[in-house]
């Protein structure tokens, strides 16, 4: 590390890091130099010149932009000389000529309260009081710090542009734009979407999209990054547009396992009115996604459940908590442990999950406890067994530096969005991106190699790659010999994976498999992101094993910018597993049901939440407690969960809203949301982070742990007298390996990655960073059998894909009533053989129907599917954004459809014209 650099600003001694600019060093030392186009974590741009300073180096004096001038030892910076302040004023005055500034230059602005709209002094179009950014406007603060000379009034030229209100989620009023290009730069430099751009030039240069089209067509992912950086009212969230924040609460987004740290703005009526990506968040570096940014406000909803209800004579009656608990205690009575289940919320905190499983195990005497989105237990258990944690080996932002990124059967840009941000950055910097997926997703656009194996043969393809690597001696021999075990067994097992056999089974040419294997082996460090979207459930373990092997033999585990990242579905999947909230928690640990409890041997453990629902359908499970917050009861990944729950004899539901699940319940309990509780979540990179209470529950809502603890006390169980969630965490930390060094107090300062064994441990950014001391510490490479995919349940499989933009297909956005609609004819790609069998012609109208005859896709047939049996349709991401925007459901985020493969029938549609309109 080169030494820090000392220099002076306005006579004050300042030290900065090498490579910093004057402005950055000033900000770090708490000195203020006005600036407008600069924004932390983006490249300096030097456009606005608001940051001018005078620098002096030896004899040389110059006036420069402080945001682009690197610091140097002995540099003398002056930001307050008369020349500089004059210049700065001139610059701001020019800017003000195109920005309403009546209020900014008004002599009584300090007296002017928010509601106190003056009638005469400033014209209507010229007032900050009618701007949505009023009172949280960065431009205003900057301009006022410059102290304009107000003796001569400035002119204001209003651009008279229409306000864009047609897009989902946010409004654009370019009358207020100061063309700082922060939004354009964040979209290009940080998000890599290039959905907005600078248009025209000189006096009429402005921000916009190609030909002024809507964001729905321009490739926008609605991440909201541009809104968060905009210093003016030009870009603002539409919901709660005019609401002022009374206070800010730092919290964590509970919509996916990235766990973005967000600043929640809460108004004086205790409503959360905005979610802003927190620049201090280590998992997200200030970024967020459409779900985090715009699906946060369900806690505000009027229709929330407020009180407990008990069903009597078919009708839910309001009761007290005590009465509800009595009813639950009676309902469970002494049912056998094998006949009951506890389903925790995928958004539940570690505290909720810990108490849920403690209740299940010590009160109900069952291991039937899981979260509703723990859909890939074999992925987690394989990782846990082999790498000691079900989380990723490396931190998320390590991906920035990867030279090769392989994405297998997952769609992170949509489902774990911010994880894809550093990935795209690596791709732009030249990293080799390999996508193994039959679907077209946004990342396939970045892929150097896009491999489309037959669904369910991904693991065989990966072992085929391992075979090539070993055959061509491309494995990292030194790493393998010093850190791994089992390489010989692997080599022996690989003889079955003859590449011609692999090629036959996967449908991928052997030359291509070799090529990809070489690319992956040669470009280090390489990381792997993997989901199981296209993989049948019985192969989840095999896929995970194949991936870990590949990462180990190429020497990528425990290496910066290498490693593996599992793409889980639930926001707190990892935390719930850590807290033991899974039937698969290891037997004999503190967390599981002791053999001999109840005087009987415990029933065999069930295989994850899907199996628990199967047990309900088959009648083996008769009674359950379900935390329904964040669960999709409809045709989500659990199948028709609501109907399984309806078949129960006794059902308790803790929920935020009434829905199909509460309709089936015998007892309904009101649940609190993330705004009403303090607790921790563990994200996919093992970072334990704190969600903080924004307000205390308005009515009788209780959090998950409170619900279970009060029920346990009612059922006369011991060990449930927790004071608060900090107390729950204390107990959790004493039981769960890897959490021992953590406490709520410690986490106040920021998230910490597990394992964190002691209170002085900083946590573990990376797993297996050290070479093992002994053979026991070696990472095992495991031999794999050549297991094929189960026979497909139907002849044809639909692979739905989603991309941000498809410039080659005409899209039309029209407005009907208050809403936008996308019009477009979809292309359904069919393989030639299948088309021949059905006597389909290119251009025929077809529809893909599922088992129940519901239409999953419709469009014109095109003969271009890579695999016989595979049908693909690629839709625009914008349709999902519209869908979420227009959803009736107060909490749309759990219902956003993923992209799983589905068995389908293909039929010719009579007339395509009838289907040309879509996306409502």
């Amino acid at each position: 590390m080169p030494d820090n650099i000392s220099f002076t600003i306005d006579g004050q001694e300042v030290t900065g890091k090498p490579g910093q600019t004057v402005l950055q060093a000033a900000m770090d030392s708490g000195l203020y130099i006005p600036y407008l186009c600069y924004f932390p974590k983006m490249k300096p741009y030097g456009a606005c010149r608001a940051c001018v300073v005078q620098t002096e180096m030896g004899e040389r004096k110059s006036i420069v932009a402080s945001c682009t001038t690197p610091i140097a030892p002995g540099l003398v910076v002056d930001s307050k000389t008369e020349q500089v302040t004059d210049l700065r004023r001139g610059i701001i005055e020019l800017l003000m000529a195109e920005h309403p500034h009546g209020c900014l230059t008004c002599h009584r602005v300090e007296l002017c309260g928010p509601q106190d709209i003056c009638q005469r002094h400033v014209s209507v179009t010229d007032r900050c009081t009618i701007c949505p950014k009023n009172e949280r406007c960065e431009l205003k603060d900057t301009v006022r710090s410059v102290e304009l000379d107000l003796r001569t009034p400035l002119n204001y030229h209003r651009r008279n542009l229409p306000i864009h209100t047609d897009d989902p989620f946010y409004d654009r009023d370019y009358n207020l734009c100061i063309v700082c290009a922060r939004c354009v730069r964040v979209c290009e430099e940080v998000r890599f979407d290039n959905a907005i751009t600078l248009t025209n030039r000189s006096g009429v240069a402005l921000v916009g999209t190609s030909r002024g089209e809507s964001l729905l067509e321009s490739g926008c992912e609605f991440c909201g990054a541009c809104i968060d950086v905009c210093p003016t009212g030009a870009l603002v969230e539409r919901d709660y547009k005019w609401e002022k924040a009374a206070r800010q609460v730092t919290t964590i987004c509970t919509n996916c396992p990235v766990g973005c740290q967000m600043v929640a703005e809460v108004n004086r009526f205790n409503k959360v009115v905005r979610f802003i990506g927190d620049l201090a968040g280590e998992s997200n570096n200030g970024q967020a996604c459409w779900k985090g940014k715009f699906a946060y406000d369900y806690p505000n909803h009027k229709s929330r459940l407020k009180y407990p209800y008990v069903r009597e004579g078919g009708i839910l009656k309001r009761v007290t908590w005590e009465q509800a608990l009595d009813r639950i205690a009676a309902g469970f009575g002494d049912r056998d442990g094998s006949k009951v289940a506890v389903i925790a919320s995928p958004r539940g905190s570690n505290e909720d999950n810990y108490v849920a499983q403690k209740f299940a195990r010590s009160v109900l005497k069952t291991d039937n406890v899981d979260t509703a989105l723990n859909l890939t237990p074999r992925v987690a258990s394989t990782l846990q067994k082999r790498f000691g944690s079900a989380g990723s080996t490396n931190p998320i932002w390590d991906l920035e530096g990867s030279k090769c990124v392989m994405v297998v059967s997952g769609n992170p840009t949509e489902e774990q969005n911010v994880l894809a941000v550093p990935l795209k950055k690596a791709a732009r910097a030249g990293a080799h991106v390999i996508v193994i997926d039959p679907r077209e997703t946004e990342l396939t656009r970045y892929a150097s190699d896009w491999i489309r194996p037959k669904p369910g043969t991904e693991h065989i393809l990966l072992v085929g790659m391992a075979r090539t690597i070993i055959d061509e001696a491309l494995e990292h021999k030194e790493y393998v010999s010093s850190r791994c075990s089992g390489i010989d067994e692997l080599k022996r097992s690989l003889w079955k994976f003859d590449l011609s056999a692999v090629s036959r089974v996967t449908g991928v040419e052997d030359t291509i498999i070799r090529e990809v294997a070489r690319n992956f082996a040669k470009k280090a460090p390489a990381s792997i992101l993997f989901g199981v979207d296209t993989v049948p459930v019985d192969l989840h373990g095999a896929l995970t094993d194949a991936i870990l092997n590949l990462s180990l033999i190429t020497g990528n585990v425990g290496v910066k910018s290498g490693g593996v990242f599992p793409l889980y579905a639930g926001a707190n999947t990892l935390g719930s597993l850590d807290a033991g909230c899974s039937p698969m928690a290891e037997r004999g640990t503190d967390l599981t049901v002791e053999p001999g409890l109840n005087g009987a041997t415990p029933p065999p453990m069930r295989d994850g939440v899907a199996d628990l629902f199967a047990g309900m359908r088959s009648g083996e499970i008769e009674a359950a407690i379900v935390m329904a917050d964040g669960m999709n009861p409809g045709a989500g990944p659990l199948g028709d969960a609501a109907s399984a729950l309806r078949s129960l004899d006794f059902l308790v539901v803790s929920a935020v809203f009434d829905d199909e699940v509460t309709a089936a319940a015998d007892v309904v309990l009101p649940a609190s949301t993330y705004t009403e509780q303090t607790g921790t979540l563990t994200n996919l990179e093992r970072r334990v982070q704190l969600i903080r209470t924004a307000w205390t529950p308005r009515n009788e809502e209780r959090s998950g742990w409170q619900t279970f603890a009060s029920l346990a006390r009612r059922m006369e169980a011991e060990g449930f007298d927790f004071q608060d969630s900090g107390g729950v965490f204390e107990e959790l930390a004493s039981v769960v390996p890897g959490y021992a060094g953590l406490s709520h107090d410690r986490l106040e300062a920021g998230g910490i990655q597990t394992p964190c064994p002691s209170s002085d441990s900083p946590g573990a950014a990376m797993l297996h960073a050290e070479e093992p001391d002994d053979d026991a510490g070696r990472l095992a490479i495991v031999p794999l059998p050549f297991i094929g995919a189960a026979a497909p349940s139907s002849d044809l499989v639909l692979a739905p894909g989603r991309v941000l933009s498809q410039p080659d297909k005409p899209v039309q956005v029209t407005r009907r009533g208050d809403m936008n609609y996308l019009h477009r004819v979809e292309v359904v790609k069919v393989h030639e053989e299948d088309a021949k069998a059905m006597s389909l012609m290119e251009g025929d109208a077809v529809e893909a129907l599922d088992d129940h005859g519901s239409r999953l896709a419709v469009g014109v047939a095109s003969l271009g599917s890579p695999q016989p049996g595979l049908i693909s349709v690629t839709t625009l991401f914008a349709e999902v954004a519209l869908g979420m925007h227009d959803a009736d459901s107060p909490d749309p985020s759990p219902r956003i459809p993923g992209l799983p493969l589905q068995p389908v029938r293909l039929v010719k549609a009579a007339d395509l014209a009838a289907y040309a309109v879509s996306s409502d």
Binding site: T199, N200, S210, R211, S218
Partner: protein
């Protein structure tokens, strides 16, 4: 009819693709691609923006950013003939104002643009590079120097009938 419109779109797309592919120079950029398309079909239709984006692996917005920056790119088809009137300093001193007024009157135009029958496009130019011959106009890129208002009017009128 929808079909003919689609076909037309396709043929424009084809022509755009051809122009993009046939660029002779070794370095192909967004700018060079847009120039090639405009040379081939005299304007940049929506398809050109989309195809150029695909061809240069850029987003449509990036391409638009370049295209909208240069005033020489046009986004609607030009008229059958282009008449440019120079209003640069030399021509201005030599009476360009009268020439311009005469042409505008003849074409029934008040600013740059196309005549209603799309037979002629009027453009202003800030210097046609032939100041010694001021005032200068150009018709379909052929310069006419020492022009008088009357001659200019006749030439402009001729464009509407030939």
């Amino acid at each position: 009819m929808a079909t003919t419109k689609a076909e037309l779109g396709d043929s424009i797309r084809e022509r755009v693709r051809c122009a993009l592919k046939q660029q002779p120079q070794p370095t192909v950029t967004v700018l060079s691609s847009l120039l090639a398309v405009q040379d081939a079909i005299h304007y940049l239709p929506d398809e050109a923006i989309e195809e150029t984006a695909g061809f240069c692996k850029a987003s449509v917005n990036e391409v638009w950013s370049v295209a909208s920056f240069y005033t020489n790119f046009r986004f609607t088809p030009p008229g059958a003939h282009v008449i440019e009137v120079c209003w640069g300093p030399s021509c201005h001193l030599a009476g360009a104002q009268g020439v311009l007024a005469a042409v505008q009157q003849e074409l029934n135009l008040f600013r740059e643009g196309e005549t209603d029958d799309r037979r002629a496009t009027l453009r202003y130019n800030t210097c046609l590079g032939a100041c010694a011959l001021a005032p200068v106009i150009s018709i379909d890129h052929h310069l006419k120097g020492r022009i008088t208002a009357g001659d200019a009017k006749d030439l402009a009128g001729g464009l509407l009938v030939d």
